[in-house]
């Protein structure tokens, strides 16, 4: 049985789609079978970031409504044969996602893939709650600023109450992915400090992704940053995050800081 990961944030534009694609491609490069599912019905994006926009025929909504088989809707990546995309519909409305339909699709994906990565839409409405519903673990994407942190806190509350895992009384594994971290702004004190974000959210950190032009360049050529430029700083941070997701324990360094002063933060209590 594969693991279902939801990539979620509450706030929009913080890097969920970028991270879903980058983590998916990083895990697939380890030889594991990965599907990235776009839950952002009506505002699909993942196909662009993964360079598959011209290959979308059927989508998640078609599968849920019985108009296409899952195998017809899945798109295999041209560069990585273990990486797949299940696109969202651009034309339908969010209400086309039914809880029963999503449940069936997730059950089937879990049987076939090692990792099912669900790219959640922003917000706390239906699309976001359906994306998290079947997750085994969550990647909470947060930018180091107050509104993003507060929205992430809210999402963590939903992960602990609105998911199947929570309803069964089990503990949802939650990981913090701090993205768009700008060492220069951190230096000037224009951003929340990593320690402060961790103190507020109190969930374990799986990575800090620096703000970088490499991310924009990758999305312009339609490739996850971990495929487009594996040696770039954001790609390396995503590779490490993927290894931590897979259970490895690695020290975390703050971009722009040479000292590995992270022992005390990484050793923090998990929530």
């Amino acid at each position: 049985m594969g693991k279902v990961i939801v990539v979620t944030s509450g706030k929009g534009g913080v890097g969920k789609t970028t991270s879903s694609a980058a983590l998916g491609a990083a895990l697939a490069q380890r030889g594991e079978k990965v599907v990235v599912v776009d839950f952002d019905v009506g505002l699909r994006n993942l196909d662009l970031v993964m360079g598959a926009e011209r290959r979308v025929v059927y989508d998640l909504v078609n599968v849920i409504q019985g108009e296409a088989k899952l195998t017809q809707a899945l798109i295999r990546d041209k560069r990585l044969e273990t990486l797949f995309l299940l696109p969202a519909s651009q034309t339908r409305d969010k209400d086309a996602l039914t809880p029963e339909g999503v449940e069936l699709v997730m059950a089937e994906l879990k049987r076939v893939f090692d990792w099912v990565i669900c790219d959640s839409p922003a917000g706390i409405e239906r699309g976001a709650t359906l994306a998290m519903r079947h997750a085994d673990m969550a990647v909470v994407v947060t930018n180091p600023e107050v509104s993003s942190v507060r929205d992430s806190d809210r999402i963590i509350g939903l992960l602990d109450s609105k998911t199947l895992k929570a309803e069964r009384g089990e503990r949802m594994e939650k990981h913090l992915l701090l993205t768009r971290y700008d060492p220069n702004r951190a230096e000037r004190g224009d951003m929340l400090k990593v320690e402060d974000v961790l103190e507020i959210l109190s969930i374990p950190l799986i990575g800090i992704i620096p703000e970088s032009m490499d991310v924009l360049r990758a999305s312009n050529i339609g490739a996850p940053v971990t495929l487009a430029d594996a040696r770039s700083a954001p790609a390396m941070a995503y590779f490490d995050a993927a290894r931590r997701l897979a259970g490895e324990v690695l020290p975390i360094t703050i971009p722009g800081e040479k000292r590995g002063l992270f022992g005390k933060i990484f050793g923090r209590r998990a929530a």
Partner: protein, 241 residues
């Protein structure tokens, strides 16, 4: 204990009845309902599991109008646990009970009007015969958007209370972490209740209905370990070492 997800904006603290959300409609009701719908659409779970009191003080309405309004609210899944400020003549069978300050009006005040509860009214948050003091312990952080409502007694949180979260306790509140959201102690009328926290960054503090907003708090208390209590009508605060 009820731990429900609600939007903190929904709370309007009114006098000593803040255990429930108090809605004060104005005329014409159509306009008011439109605004309510707008607010509800912007805030998921606005009234979820939350007792709602309808305050109709000074509104020149008759029984039929009130009945319509209660019906309109029921359509929106808002269950009214009581009506405040209504003339006894417009209440009665088939209507929510009369309330005063979040507590039922004593029986003789409406002696001739039998009080009938809505059959699907939420569990009564009003403590009538108070049992032995109780307390609950929350062993995890209280997240933004969550409410811990425990009218029966004390609430202890091992962890922080986030900005946009709230703790409402009939007794005292103890936070072993940072209090960034709201804490309301003594919420069913207990002036002896206190609030303790390891680090004060609160948005709002209230004891027995008397409240203080963030900007009313002495700046030197921020970030400190603090206890708060009530003396007469004012909230007193003191650093704990």
């Amino acid at each position: 204990m009820t731990k429900v997800l609600t939007d903190a904006r929904s709370i309007r603290i009114k006098g000593r009845s803040f255990l429930a959300v108090v809605l004060s409609p104005d005329l014409p009701f159509d306009d008011w309902l439109a605004r309510l719908d707008d607010l509800a659409s912007r805030s998921a779970g606005f009234f979820l599991g939350r007792p709602v009191v309808l305050d109709v003080t000074d509104l020149p309405i008759d029984r039929a109008q009130l009945k319509d309004l209660v019906g309109e609210l029921a359509k929106r899944n808002v269950t009214i646990m009581g009506v405040e400020g209504a003339r006894p003549s417009i209440l009665g069978p088939g209507m929510p009970p009369a309330l005063k300050g979040g507590r039922p009006v004593s029986d003789d005040a409406v002696a001739k009007e039998p009080i009938i509860e809505l059959h699907n009214a939420p569990a009564k948050p009003v403590v009538e015969s108070r049992p032995a003091p109780q307390s609950i312990i929350i062993r995890e952080p209280v997240r933004s958007g969550q409410s811990v409502i425990f009218p029966e007694g004390d609430v202890t949180v091992i962890g922080s209370v986030a900005s946009g979260a709230e703790i409402i306790a009939g007794g005292s509140i103890h936070i072993y972490g940072t209090l960034r959201g709201r804490a309301m102690a003594g919420s069913v009328g207990n002036a002896a209740a206190r609030i303790f926290c390891r680090k004060l960054e609160a948005e709002l503090l209230a004891i027995d209905g008397i409240y203080k907003m963030a900007e009313d708090m002495a700046p030197d208390l921020r970030g400190r370990s603090v206890q708060l209590w009530l003396e007469g009508e004012s909230i007193m605060a003191e650093k704990l070492i």
